[in-house]
């Protein structure tokens, strides 16, 4: 069988790249190391362009838009529930802090405006700051104009907020620990940083991108499963593929267990950049190989499932009662230990109850399930966790690893120094938490 292209990885980005290539008439094979599709929900904004281009609307795609979008226990009992309706959220906040309630609508508006800038940046390859090409310069100028038209406040907010810590941003606005805790959690989401680390305000906005105004949790969907069912590409599961390259040009892949080689002039890898490129070091210039080796992709999240009968009434339960709580959870991880009191979020989607636990750095995880169970007031055997050795985003979204610096500076256009080898996973721009965006950008760059 002859293929025009091989895509490594059948996650959302890999499949999106594969389907865009297939739509352009290429014969595409997708190779996935896991034998079966991951049943867990995809967390993140699905760009409308992906849904439109791949006609996902009629393919069984479900996007969960829970209302209220978050529930957080209050120290004195009861819960704070925030809704998609800003007025209702404002009323809920008023019960714990009238001052915060007064600021909520304006906060939501300002954050939405900033997230809008990111959305515009994310659906195209990152700006090429080294370019002298007129089209590229026009594009960068267009972006500048767009931001300018959003008003002086947005320009100031962008410059001021992006490098800020989420704690400083939230302390600027609010007084309630519970509110700041549940918002601050989004700032450290998948990062090995605490809410007082610089750049966490950016991470907060990154994860707000694609969400409606006043909703600070990414959408949950079954996009990977929906993509898996789309016809047009061949998917081989249960085989880990490594890229083959000779004299600086990709020639195909080799399957790790069987040793079978499959040739193709084009290989797109949605696997982490480091895992894709490190075995090819002999084909790479050392400066590039070192930059790839130094990508920060530290695992800090354990995901898993919670067995609850009957399923809980809430859709998303957030245990991050204050910014101090989050910072302390991070303190443990900073020294290589699991958080004594981790940030825990429970998400109910399609009858599955999933749990996100942070911070869980690589190592031994003695008593972790017990601690999570205690926090959630369930039995330990109801909690099943899989700590991730590496960042699930294939590279943390810190300020030094975004835009034209993702995956490594100078190589943000999905290409690699190896002719015919492209990267299309969340290790590339715009990064994790936006299923299909990197895959789409990469495919458009390839075509």
């Amino acid at each position: 069988m002859k293929y025009d292209a091989i895509v490594i990885g059948a996650g959302a980005n890999g499949l999106v790249t594969a389907h865009y290539l297939a739509r352009a008439g290429k014969r595409v094979l997708v190779v996935e190391q896991h034998p079966s599709a991951d049943p867990s929900a995809d967390v993140g904004w699905i760009p409308a362009a992906v849904m439109r281009d791949l006609r996902l609307a009629g393919s069984g795609l479900r996007i969960d838009e829970p209302d209220p979008w978050i529930t957080a226990p209050l120290p004195a009992g009861g819960t704070l529930e925030l809704s998609r309706d800003i007025a209702r959220s404002t009323e809920a906040i008023r019960r714990i802090s009238p001052a915060d309630a007064g600021k909520w609508p304006e906060f939501c508006r300002r954050m939405r405006s900033l997230a809008g800038v990111l959305e515009r940046l994310y659906l195209v390859p990152p700006p090429d700051i080294e370019s002298n090409d007129v089209r590229e310069l026009t594009r960068i100028a267009g972006l500048g104009l767009y931001v300018r038209r959003l008003g002086k406040q947005t320009v100031i907010d962008l410059a001021r907020i992006l490098p800020m810590s989420i704690a400083e941003l939230l302390d600027d606005w609010f007084e309630s620990d519970v509110l700041k805790g549940l918002l601050g959690a989004l700032g450290v989401w998948h990062l090995k940083q605490g809410p007082r680390s610089g750049g966490t305000a950016f991470n907060f906005l990154h994860h707000h991108a694609g969400s409606p105004i006043g909703v600070f949790r990414p959408a949950r969907s079954n996009i990977t499963q929906a993509l898996s069912k789309l016809p047009g590409v061949e998917v081989r599961r249960g085989a880990r593929a490594m890229v083959l390259a000779r004299n600086g040009t990709a020639t195909g892949v080799v399957l790790e267990k069987s040793g079978e080689t499959i040739e193709a002039p084009l290989v797109a890898s949605s696997a982490p950049p480091r895992a894709t490129l490190q075995p090819l070091a002999i084909e790479l210039y050392p400066d590039f190989a070192r930059a790839v080796g130094n990508i920060k992709a530290r695992g800090v999240v354990a995901r898993g499932t919670l067995t609850l009968e009957p399923p809980p009434a809430y859709s998303t339960l957030c245990i991050a009662p204050s910014l101090d709580y989050l910072e302390r959870a991070y303190d443990d991880a900073k020294y290589g230990k699991d958080s004594t009191a981790p940030y825990v979020e429970v998400q109910r989607t399609d009858g599955r109850v999933e749990v996100h636990v942070q911070f869980v750095p690589p190592g031994t995880h003695g008593g972790l399930a017990e601690r999570v169970a205690q926090i959630l007031n369930v039995r330990p055997n109801q909690v099943e966790l899989q700590p991730a050795e590496e960042s699930l985003y294939h590279g943390e979204l810190t300020l030094d690893q975004i835009l034209f610096m993702r995956p490594v500076p100078g190589w943000s256009r999905y290409r690699t120094p190896i002719e015919g080898l492209y990267l299309c996973g969340s290790g590339t721009h715009p990064g994790g938490g936006i299923p299909g965006a990197a895959g789409r950008n990469a495919a458009r760059e390839i075509l």
């Binding site: 000779r246 004299n247 600086g248 490190q278 075995p279 070091a281 002999i282 084909e283 210039y285 050392p286 400066d287 590039f288 190989a289 070192r290 080796g293």
Partner: protein
């Protein structure tokens, strides 16, 4: 921290009549042992000169992927080299600009010794990711002398008690000199018949003594860097930080050179797997390098006339110079390039220079070289001359 002395210093130190030492890679080596380097120079061309070249950086690269690593770094095809071969080779950055040059000795199927002018350990390590290879810095534990000149083979044959006539140019062999295990390579930096002898640093002094004793009837002469400098210009051999700048140390792009611009096109393999700078060098080869590294001969009559104008006989540099000197076209108005080394060849009776010129200036082209006559800038007529200036048959014999 003071400069270090080499393992031969117990012998070379007392020989120095004028305490004229030069710094080389953190060591001191003799500029000249006598007060003038003339006799040392003539030993290179007429008998045999013995140089202490221990300050060279030396790395032992071993393991299954040793050849792959070196092939990834350098421009020559190491994989194709046979055991016992020595390769002279440059190595480049990703843009095909030269980082350094040195030699690779193939000591065994999986054992190589690389020499370099600049420290290279980190670079080798950076290039070795994923490879099964061990890199050892043996700079301090391996000492080396270079025995150069028409009598060098006879001296070494006597010292090693074996026939070395089969040891061809750029080949090596292991041997024993008075029981001391050594590696002898048919290499050098003089363009003459010559050898380099590699030895464990602990055996350096007895080796020196053995060579001096054996060589004295043949006129063996310890020689320093001043004599070597004249010989290497005659031989057209370039010197880092003098004739070119490592792309590592260049401050601007214009200070970098590619091997193709340095007359080292023959070292850039076209038949090997991906190596650093390959794409850039392939492209440069296709479009043709912008610069060439060539010889210049300064015309005697022109020199004589310039000095006659001020009432002096021609004056010649007493040592090789290593400064940048502008080269102009025959009208003297347009600069064509610059010379980086030059000096008088006592053997050839010729004022020679090594120069960077645009690649369009063919041998024989008349140019002008700037020089100072009695404090005034003048231009002497010169001609583009192919390198090397001196290329005796015995070099390769």
């Amino acid at each position: 921290m003071s400069l270090r002395t080499t393992p031969f210093h117990p012998r070379t130190g007392p020989l120095s009549e004028g305490q004229a030492w030069r710094r080389w890679a953190g060591y001191v080596v003799a500029s000249a042992y006598e007060l003038s380097h003339d006799r040392e120079y003539h030993a290179i061309r007429n008998s045999a000169a013995l140089f202490d070249v221990s300050p060279l950086y030396k790395y032992l690269v071993t393991g299954r992927d040793a050849a792959r690593l070196l092939d990834h770094v350098v421009t020559r095809n190491v994989g194709k080299a046979k055991v016992g071969q020595v390769l002279y080779t440059p190595w480049c950055d990703n843009e095909g600009k030269q980082i350094d040059d040195g030699t690779i000795s193939v000591l065994g199927e999986q054992t190589f010794r690389m020499t370099s002018a600049d420290p290279t350990l980190r670079w080798l390590h950076l290039n070795s990711s994923g490879l099964d290879v061990t890199i050892q810095d043996v700079s301090e534990t391996t000492a080396a002398v270079s025995l150069q000149g028409p009598s060098s083979r006879e001296i070494l044959q006597l010292a090693a008690e074996r026939d070395l006539s089969a040891l061809k140019y750029f080949r090596l062999t292991s041997a024993k000199i008075r029981g001391i295990p050594v590696t002898i390579s048919r290499t050098g930096y003089t363009g003459d018949l010559g050898f380099e002898v590699w030895v464990d640093a602990s055996q350096a002094v007895p080796l020196w003594d053995a060579l001096i004793e054996t060589g004295t009837p043949y006129g063996i002469t310890p020689a320093g860097m001043l004599a070597l400098d004249v010989a290497r210009i005659e031989a057209g051999l370039l010197l880092i930080e003098v004739d070119y700048f490592s792309s590592r140390h260049a401050l601007i792009e214009a200070q970098k050179s590619s091997p193709l611009e340095l007359g080292l096109g023959w070292t850039v393999a076209t038949d090997k797997a991906r190596y650093n700078g390959q794409a850039a060098l392939d492209a440069e080869r296709t479009r043709g390098p912008a610069w060439q590294f060539t010889g210049l001969t300064v015309d005697w009559d022109s020199l004589e006339q310039l000095y006659a104008e001020v009432g002096l006989p021609p004056r010649l540099p007493s040592q090789a110079w290593r400064t940048s000197v502008p080269i102009y076209d025959r009208s003297g108005n347009k600069q064509l390039g610059y010379a980086t080394s030059g000096g008088w060849s006592p053997l050839l009776k010729r004022y020679m220079a090594l120069a960077h010129l645009g690649s369009e200036h063919a041998p024989g082209t008349e140019v002008r070289m700037e020089l100072t006559v009695e404090h005034r800038r003048k231009q002497a007529q010169a001609h583009v001359t192919p390198l090397p200036f001196f290329n005796p048959e015995r070099k390769r014999a």
